[in-house]
Amino acid sequence: MKRILEWPGHAWLALPARLYLGYVFIWACLHKIAAPATFALDVATYQLLPLSLINITALVLPWVELLAGVMIVLGFRTRAAALLISGMMLVFMVALGWALHQGLDMSCGCFASQSSDEHAISWLTMLRDAGWLALALYVLGFDRRPLGLDRLWPRGRATAA
């Protein structure tokens, strides 16, 4: 296992995954930041959160998406960004699974201008999210020396073993 983890090729394999995830998350957050009221309605549509948490979630989540997206693209604190993206994907998948279980006819609210007529949630949406989660977990687990700022300016940690 240690040999697999230390394989230097992971950094190159993970790079396109990181760029793709970064693109997805940066693109996904833009309309949410621009129109928080609309996104709050999207969050409410899932009927999962109590009223007191809907607006605060709609305000903060897009900024987490933005920062995590920028960080994973730049390779800055890459594993923390991958951890955040994995966590968000898990939360999204739980919400999506719940909505699908309830039979809600709605858009996932992931991207801008999505109507439930054209972009209704389905198990394919869940599969897509699972793919993104797998990419994020790969970066988190295997991209230990990511290409980018983390490699240019590594942390000065010295550990005795």
Binding site: P36, T45, L51, P62, G103, L140, P154
Partner: protein, 166 residues
């Protein structure tokens, strides 16, 4: 052995960095919301009016078909016309039976379909939005009948595909 800065960060460091990002995001989000004119209250004053239609049927939804994929002479096929009886009489696909779909008074449509012992069921409706054919197909499929399809575009599209024959 001493490891230098090229070692991957510990998990505690990864979690700490992630927590810092969340805190930073919250600070930026709340500040931005405070400053912008289109900001929203941190806690909504009243419940959101969420209009999400409830599921109408429990089973799997029927699968769509393009009109060109419909062959009325297919063996074991049951063609169902979901439109009003009057429009069915004006034109219907060869061999189609009439089961008018009424959203307000749904009938046990699946019984008639099951009695036919068809291997495949294709339903077409008015082709409007919502399409009565799709609704009836979903209603039948939702009762556990397998291999149920509906025709995209409904009767107008099917009529064009079949050459307008009765």
């Amino acid at each position: 052995m001493i490891y230098g800065g090229n070692m991957p960060p510990r998990w505690t460091t990864v979690f700490r960095d992630a927590a810092i990002v969340v805190a930073l995001s919250a600070a930026v989000a709340l500040t931005t919301n405070k400053l912008r004119s289109s900001g929203i209250p941190l806690v909504a004053a009243q419940e959101y009016e969420v209009l999400v239609p409830c599921p109408e049927h429990e089973g799997k939804p029927a699968k769509p078909l393009t009109p060109g994929d419909v062959n009325p002479k297919e063996k074991g096929l049951l063609l169902v016309d979901a439109r009003e009886a009057e429009t069915y009489r004006a034109w219907h696909a060869p061999g189609a039976i009439s089961i008018p779909y009424d959203y307000l008074e749904p009938k046990p449509e699946e019984k008639r379909v099951l009695r036919s012992r068809a291997r495949r069921v294709i339903v077409y409706g008015d082709g409007e939005n919502p399409d009565s054919g799709e609704q009836l197909a979903n209603a039948i499929s939702g009762k556990g009948v397998k291999n149920v399809h509906f025709v995209r575009g409904g009767a107008p599209a099917l009529r064009r595909a079949l050459g307008g024959g009765r």
